[in-house]
Amino acid sequence: MRRAAWLLVAPAVALVVVLFVMPYANLLVMSFFTPATTAPYEPTVTLGNYKVALADSFQWRVLWRTLKLGVLATVATLMLGYPLAWNLARASGRTKAALLVLLLSPLLVGVVIRSFGWMVLLADQGLVNSLLRRSGLAPGGFKLMYNEFGVLVGTVHIFLPFMVLSIAGALENIAPDLPLAARSLGASATKAFWRIVVPLSLPGVFAGCLLVFVLTVSSYVIPVLLGGFKVITTPLLVVQTAVDVSNWPGAAAQAVVLFAASLACIGVYVSLMNRAMRGLSG
């Protein structure tokens, strides 16, 4: 029985090992090799790549920007997504199906197409700016893309469904009698929401934030298209180092640093959330 169970998960394990664990291990090993010009690397062990990655203030600024965009996108999707999730969780029947289609339909279009869509809207001569100019509200228009704002707008839009679905799942699991019980005990609708609904939805908030954060700090296409290489994030830097400069070990070290930094952020976040969710599980 036990052996049969292991056999059943074997294909999945093999897939993860070959496509996920081995490339990562390869990356980690490569980050300790010496850069070379004629081959991807020279198999001489060195700490030089990390010395460069950690000593270079430019790389720290890029890392900081990457994590900052991750946090901002997470906060923005949370604030936009919670009300959406609330309405999605309370809807039923045809309304719910319609809302789900609306929410998920952007996922059917690739991330490149959607980023181009935002470029049409946000460009200097784009829809938003020409409307602003023509209406006289802002004759000079605004710089809406090729900066962090543009990257953030695209990121928030594209990752919003992940946040909404996570939170809506948690909200749907809250028995409708719970807020009513709070009301019967003298809590206003607002108090019942903050004291009962919000704490009980934290597991969904937790999962949604985690998803959006890791998706944002690792995203490549959105910062390239909406940042126009003016907003350099670590994934962009890694690709530039590897492809443009052909410094594969240096790029590997940068990737490992980003990974470690994200892991540290997630670690702090998980311990904070666990404290907030005391009593919800276990």
Binding site: D177, L178, A181, R183, S184, L185, P199, G279, L280
Partner: protein, 361 residues
């Protein structure tokens, strides 16, 4: 403390009338059970009293206080839900303290009252447990404590025992009843379980299709159901249709297909149809051997068609005519076998008349 008055309460969901012009007076300190099958409007009535539903018409008073336009949190109610609705992220003590916190009770008084009410429901020592760490019965008592600690004007219970196992449910009936009497709080108790309503209530309101068919003490409801629907819902009843042909004091002579039967009742009003139903409970019917010279009044001769031994009683089906089969329940010692000829007799005082179904439908 206050009584509850419902005046012409009506609640519609789309084209469905869930509560239909319902009026009810619950006396101060009284426990009334709303009893009926699912979908009869009993829970909607309760949720309207709580303020979770807005009535389409009608008014609700707690004593002199008109509450129909108040929000639930302004009504000063205590409510126990079918699934208890304990807050899963709060301990027992935090659950019970919630209502006091909302009323801004000072910390010292709050701790004292939480401890007192937990002692009353025998949950002392479990303050720090989370609801999922409690048994069903303990959760039930925690929910009662949470509702009672705020000294509400009225207590509303929505099938509070439905999720307990049978044995515990029976114990909790007596427990809830004695707790309610000890606190002396006006209570509306929703249930679909007639035995529960009988044990727990001062009076029972039997509801069908959004209306109260009968309101009375448990014994009255059982012994004198006002309609065939009530009689069928509460316990088992045999009905024999007939036409009134005479009245002697409180007794009616009814001409049925099985002969003339005598039962309690009053003459139907002159404009009503003369047809009515003679109703008699299975345990009020007595079986005897035809040779044993049973009384001639209210005697029906038949044969045992089926027999089931239920432990404390024997459940018979007696065919008294090709189309009429009576349900008879007797003590296990007077035993008849399938096929035996028997005489079925009953006291006129044990049978009563109810309007025929066409009149109440």
């Amino acid at each position: 403390m206050a009584g509850i008055q419902l005046r012409g309460l009506t609640k519609r969901f789309g084209s469905v009338v869930a509560v239909d012009d319902l009026s009810l007076d619950v006396a101060d300190g009284e426990l009334i059970a709303l009893l009926g099958p699912s979908g009869c409007g009993k829970t909607t009535t309760l949720r309207t009293i709580a303020g979770f539903e807005t009535p389409d018409a009608g008014e609700i008073y707690f004593g002199e206080r008109r509450v129909s336009d108040l929000l639930p949190e302004q009504r000063r109610i205590g409510m126990v839900f079918q699934n208890y609705a304990l807050f899963p992220h709060m301990t027992v003590a935090e659950n019970v303290a919630f209502g006091l916190e909302m009323r801004k009770t000072p910390a010292a008084a709050l701790r004292e009252r939480v401890a007192a009410v937990l002692a009353k429901v025998q949950l002392t020592g479990l303050e720090k447990r989370y609801p999922r760490q409690l048994s069903g019965g303990q959760q039930q008592r925690a929910a009662l404590a949470r509702a009672l600690v705020v000294s509400p004007d009225v207590l509303l219970l929505d099938e509070p025992l439905a999720n307990l196992d049978a044995k515990l449910r029976e114990e909790m009936r007596f427990y809830v009843r004695s707790l309610q009497q000890e606190v002396g709080i006006t209570t509306v108790y929703v249930t679909h379980d007639q035995a529960e309503a009988m044990v727990i209530a001062d009076r029972i309101a039997v509801m069908f299709a959004g209306r109260i068919h009968q309101l009375g003490a448990p014994a009255d409801i059982y012994h004198r159901p006002a309609t065939a629907t009530v009689a069928e819902f509460i316990g088992l009843t045999n009905f024999i249709e007939g036409k009134v042909i005479g009245q002697h004091g409180a007794l009616l002579n009814v001409d049925t297909s099985l002969g003339v039967l005598t039962c309690q009742g009053s003459l139907p009003s002159p404009d009503a149809r003369p047809m009515l139903l003679v109703a008699v409970r299975p345990e009020a019917l007595r079986l005897s051997a035809p040779s044993g010279s049973p009384p001639a009044e209210n005697r029906l001769d038949g044969a045992v068609k089926a027999r089931a031994f239920l432990g404390n009683i024997v459940d018979y089906r007696i065919a008294v005519s090709p189309s009429v089969v009576l349900r008879v329940q007797g003590a296990p010692h007077d035993s008849f076998a399938v096929g035996d000829r028997v005489a079925v007799t009953f006291e006129p005082a044990a049978a009563w008349s109810v309007p025929s179904r066409e009149d109440t439908a």
